[in-house]
Amino acid sequence: MENTPFIHIENLSYSYVGEDGQPIPVLKNLSLDIREGEYVVILGHNGSGKSTLAKLLNMVLDDYTFAEGKITVDGLDVMSPDLTDGDVLNLRKNVGMVFQNPDNQLVATVVEEDVAFGPENLGIPQPELRTRVDEALATVGMSAYARHEPHRLSGGQKQRVAIAGIIAMKPRCMIFDESTAMLDPVGRKEVLETIEKLNRDEGITVISITHYMDEAARADRVIVLSDGHLMLDGTPGEVFTHSDTLRKAGLDLPQCTAVSQYLTTQGIPVCGEINTPKQCAEAILNAWGRI
């Protein structure tokens, strides 16, 4: 099992059905493997197909008329025509999804009841249900808010409650579909730290979809989608060296990577993997020492 990837995507193409019944292509012949425990960021400009890919992995799209290719999640052929309802439930239990707008994914009027929503649907009996809810809230650091009403929380707190709601289902993989896009800097920091903690401490495979380059810099692996094609795939350091390709995909380099690349072209050799401000500062100091 070690060598089979958790998510295997082969020659995947997907088109939405346009108003005239004609296909509008979104994903084009995409092949991709994601291993268990990885922290993958999928980057792409608006309309690059990244959200569609995420929704395909959870089978929550409305129309599969123009879907071709193969997706297997944990050995389960997701695109198979004889997929049962039980298979779909099992898939959604294993691959949890957190969306962009924190308000539109909380169901209950009390935080802990919202966290319980997923496991309740799975039919988890008491007292395990209670333990799962308490543990999930503790993992995201929201135990103190268990009895609060969701609408009184900040955006970052709501998003952490949404994450707890997924954790309580004990998924093996979590997909974050632009989950930080609507948050203020404080909220985004809280959520990113939670995501990293889940990947590092709980061993959950994380697929994070974003267009923030600084978030990509923190991942193990970065995948760049452009116009439904896979453009780049590698560690943040590898991907960021292709600044021209990134620009073509409508993306900018993270500031510190851009600074170091500019300095290098100006004859100051700033080298090494530079994805964070700290790495950047150290590399510049190093280069300074050499001059």
Partner: protein, 280 residues
């Protein structure tokens, strides 16, 4: 908007607050039945006393309780006046208290009016104390889902209704907040909601309602996807975090309400037999 509370729930720590919501629904229904069974002065006195006892038990300030009655003053006054003027005592030897041209008032009419006032007051206050004041809307939803579950046998989608209730309660504050935002945005563009004729003001609301609906539909769509992703597939095989459990106090309360109904029925029977004070 931050201090917005649902319904009339009044947080306090009383027996009524702690009761199982299902027991409270049952008691409230029984209390309405009891107030309709009252037929003579004794039973109405008993009804008043029981209402006072409930208010004391609930530890809710009189001021708050009376607030719910205020909305009904017009209806109560109307029914009372109607009763006073319309009731004609046809029994032997009945003399009208007032006989002025077309106005005739009998003592029976005044009693009737008083009885009906007491009945309305007791019903509104009693159900309020059992339900809205001491029970959160969400507990009430849980109770109704549990009590109506037998109806699933005749294909009534009880779980779906309770889910809809829960989602509605969850989104009321969110959508109110949004309404405020849209109103501010439209005001910033020069919209005027406060002056002009009624028709004009109603028309001014259109630029608020249209974006509000558009956004509510988008929310509903996103929420449905999120719920599907969280394995929602209807009420089948679902467990619950909060399990409703009857306690001794619930049975005691239901016993007392049953006793109360029994008492009123007994008073009615004896009242008729021995010709006690004014019977309706």
């Amino acid at each position: 908007m931050k201090g917005f509370a649902f319904g009339q729930y009044y947080p306090a720590n009383s027996v009524l607050h702690r009761m199982d919501p299902r027991a409270k629904v049952i008691c409230a229904v029984a209390y309405i039945v009891a107030s309709f069974l009252c037929k003579n002065t004794f039973s109405f006195v008993l009804l008043i006393l029981s209402t006072i006892a409930l208010i004391l038990l609930s530890r809710i300030p009189m001021k708050v309780v009376l607030r719910s009655v205020r909305a009904l003053i017009f209806i109560m006054a109307f029914t009372a006046v109607l009763n006073i003027f319309w009731i004609v005592d046809t029994s032997e030897g009945a003399v009208p208290l007032v006989d002025f041209y077309f106005i005739t008032i009998y003592a029976k009419g005044i009693y009737h009016a008083a009885f009906i006032l007491i009945r309305i007051l007791a019903m509104v206050i009693g159900t309020g104390l059992f339900l809205t004041y001491t029970t959160t809307p969400i507990a009430l939803t849980d109770a109704l889902e549990s009590l109506l579950r037998p109806l699933t046998a005749i294909k009534v989608p009880v779980h779906a209704f309770s889910m809809m209730m829960t989602i509605a309660l969850r989104f009321i504050p969110t959508i109110m907040e949004e309404t405020e935002k849209i109103m501010s945005a439209q005001k910033a563009r020069g919209a005027d909601f406060t002056t002009g004729s009624l028709g004009r003001r109603a028309k001014a609301l259109i630029p608020i309602i249209v974006p509000l609906f558009a956004s509510a539909f988008r929310r509903a769509d996103e929420l449905a996807t999120a719920m599907e992703c969280r394995c929602y597939h209807g009420g089948e095989g679902r467990t619950k975090l909060r399990i409703l459990r009857y306690h001794v106090r619930d049975f005691v309360a239901m016993f007392f309400v049953a006793l109360f109904i029994g008492g009123i029925v007994a008073i009615n029977i004896f009242g008729r037999k021995y010709g006690w004070l004014y019977t309706m």
